[in-house]
């Protein structure tokens, strides 16, 4: 409720429903975007992220509901509103002319004078590191250069909200990395409110202050990044944001803010939380919270949850190794390369896995509705 009454709400939707070809593709009771906020929409492909993005940008007419910009409903087919926003798509969608003319296009559309255009465009070309490409034909750019042009074209209009619809997903990883860094910097410098969709969790975490997880045309959860990552609202969010171990169980005891949940094959997990005895729950354990050691004596941990386990599988994962364990239940741990060498971990080897009660996030189980 606090969210609804904040005074710096820039964009808000109420009771939104979007239909396409006779089926409801988006149903969102309410959503608010604050001044200066960077909101990431994440979710699997086809979840409705792009549809939500287009609707928020006033480019798709909802079947029902209101879109309010600074408290006023969008009128005149969204024309006035569209002059306050900018959008960058997955494809750069550049015009068949020079880089300069492309970046100038939004300003020309607004009827801005030649002098002002001549002042503003070079400034933004420089900001996005494409000043040297000003006279080049947009058809002769690399993928990264083209997307930079598209970003410059959006930011040069100094929009109040910028919409970024998976802007990096068609770029190769090194290009994406550099461009994301630049975008992050420019977003912070300009304090532009941004809504960015992605199916890449790392990308979302890097740019966003807030996270909205979209699934099947609904917002499964929205909140500050840490809250969504560490307190997933349901099984889907937990699975999607990377809590790799999700264990179903039942609360058997509670004592002093610590609950004990029984999970598969009479194993018990202790967790911090307030859930009634007898409740079916999901216990979510992030892989980086799991510590491995060779024997219980050596673990030297205050962790309440200590299990002897066997290593079933090890997968290198960039900076980490993903270790799948069999503790009588499945558990996933991330181990650094250094620990891997120190402990001399190998597949099939017995180890001790431990994690703190505070590292377990308990979600009271709800029936998943299949639509």
């Amino acid at each position: 409720m606090m969210v609804e009454t904040r005074s710096d709400i820039l964009l808000k939707i109420e009771d939104l429903q979007v239909r396409r070809g006779g089926t409801t593709v988006l149903e969102i009771p309410s959503l608010a975007v604050f001044q200066g906020q960077v909101l990431s929409l994440i979710g699997p492909n086809g979840a409705g992220k792009s549809t939500l993005m287009l609707t928020l940008a006033g480019l798709l007419k909802p079947a029902r509901g209101n879109l309010l910009f600074r408290g006023d409903p969008i009128a005149d087919g969204g024309f006035t509103y569209r002059r306050h926003i900018a959008m960058v798509f997955q494809d750069p969608l550049l015009f068949d002319t020079t880089v300069f003319e492309n970046v100038a296009s939004g300003l020309k559309i607004r009827g801005m004078g030649r002098q002002e255009i001549g002042r503003r465009v070079p400034e933004y070309l420089e900001r996005f590191g494409i000043g040297h490409l000003a006279k080049r034909s947009a058809r002769k750019l690399s993928g990264g250069e083209a997307q930079r042009t598209s970003l410059a074209r959006a930011f040069v209009t100094e929009p109040e909200i910028v919409f970024l619809d998976e802007p990096f997903s068609s770029l190769d990883p090194p290009t994406r990395e550099v461009l994301m860094g630049d975008l992050e910097r420019i977003l912070r410098q300009t304090h532009t409110t941004a809504i960015a969709s992605t199916h890449d969790q790392a990308e979302a975490l890097r740019l966003a202050d807030w996270l909205a997880v979209v699934n099947r045309g609904r917002i499964a959860q929205i909140g500050p990044v840490a809250e969504v990552m560490n307190r997933p609202a349901d099984e889907f969010v937990a699975g999607f944001v990377g809590v790799e171990t999700v264990l179903p169980g039942r609360v058997v005891r509670t004592s002093g803010g610590v609950i004990t949940a029984s999970i598969a094959e009479d194993r018990e997990i202790e967790a911090v939380g307030q859930v009634e005895v007898g409740t079916e729950v999901l216990c979510c354990i992030r892989p980086e919270s799991v510590t491995l050691s060779i024997s219980p004596a050596l673990s030297g941990t205050s962790a309440r949850n200590v299990f002897s386990a066997a290593i079933r599988q090890m997968t290198p994962l960039g900076l980490f190794h993903r270790v799948r364990l069999d503790c009588g239940f499945d558990l996933v741990a991330y181990v650094t390369g250094q620990s891997l060498t120190e402990l001399d971990l190998r597949e099939g080897m017995p180890v001790v896995a431990s994690f703190k009660a505070t590292a377990v996030h308990v979600i009271p189980r709800r029936e998943m509705t299949l639509t």
Binding site: L54, A57, L59, F79, R82, R83, I85, A86, M87, F89, D91, L93, F95, D96, S105, G106, I109, R110, S137, R139, K140, R153, T157, F163
Partner: protein, 232 residues
């Protein structure tokens, strides 16, 4: 073979000496077909863009109709334009049958579906999100359409070439609605038909060569523009 050589010789002779009658026929052909093409561009680009950008019931049928129209037989057009312009016809009061205006009208009817069809295809061929991108840049609907047409300008040049090529070489409709009147409504194609009928093969060949030359030159200029703009 002599017939062909003599014809070509004659053609050059007529060209070099700037034969008054041949020059008149050529200029009239250019004027009529040029005007007809301009008219068809105006109607065709507008209609093609509208059909490409809107969704309405029966749209599929309209698109089929346009595509069929791209191969409209000139004689059929000639027949119907004649009927319409006939003294008792619906447009008889205009009293333009057997005038250059009537030929322009008929040729515009022939070229319009060609231009419409190519416009439709070129606009639809643009990326689907481009419209949304343009609107997101703050464009009005009119600005959006104008930018789209500009983006499709290279394939649209093909529409100009196809339209002009279709009408400058057309004979059926021109002879029916124009009447091939000497010094008034006689164009390159109708003159060729007449001279061939009379057995004046040399003049007929000369006129054909001029016709091909005119068609070639117009297309060469447009191709030049198109290829210069196409990067790489």
């Amino acid at each position: 073979m002599d017939l062909i050589f003599e014809g070509i010789q004659k053609a050059f002779h007529l060209l070099i000496t700037l034969d008054r009658e041949v020059l008149g026929i050529t200029l009239l052909s250019l004027q009529i077909s040029g005007t007809a093409t301009l008219m068809s561009l105006f109607i065709g680009i507008t209609t093609g863009t509208v059909v490409a950008l809107t969704r309405f019931p029966g749209r599929q049928f309209v698109v089929s109709l346009i595509n069929t129209g791209m191969g409209l037989p000139p004689v059929v057009v000639g027949l119907f334009v004649t009927i319409f312009l006939w003294r008792n016809g619906p447009l008889g009061f205009l009293e333009i049958l057997y005038t250059p205006t009537a030929i322009i009208l008929a040729q515009a009817v022939i070229a319009t579906p060609i231009v419409t069809g190519i416009t439709l295809a070129s606009i639809q061929h643009l990326p689907a999100n481009l419209r949304l991108q343009i609107l997101a840049l703050g464009a009005t609907r009119v600005q959006m359409v104008w930018i789209l047409v500009k983006e499709a300008r290279l394939p649209l040049l093909a529409a100009v070439m196809a339209g002009f090529g279709g009408v400058i070489s057309e004979v059926g409709a021109s002879i029916m609605v124009g009447g091939n009147i000497k010094g008034y409504s006689r164009v390159l194609t109708t003159a060729t038909v007449m001279e061939t009928g009379r057995g004046n093969f040399d003049i007929a060949i000369a006129l054909s060569v001029i016709l091909m030359l005119v068609a070639f030159l117009v297309n060469a200029v447009l191709t030049q523009i198109q290829q210069r703009e196409r990067p790489r």
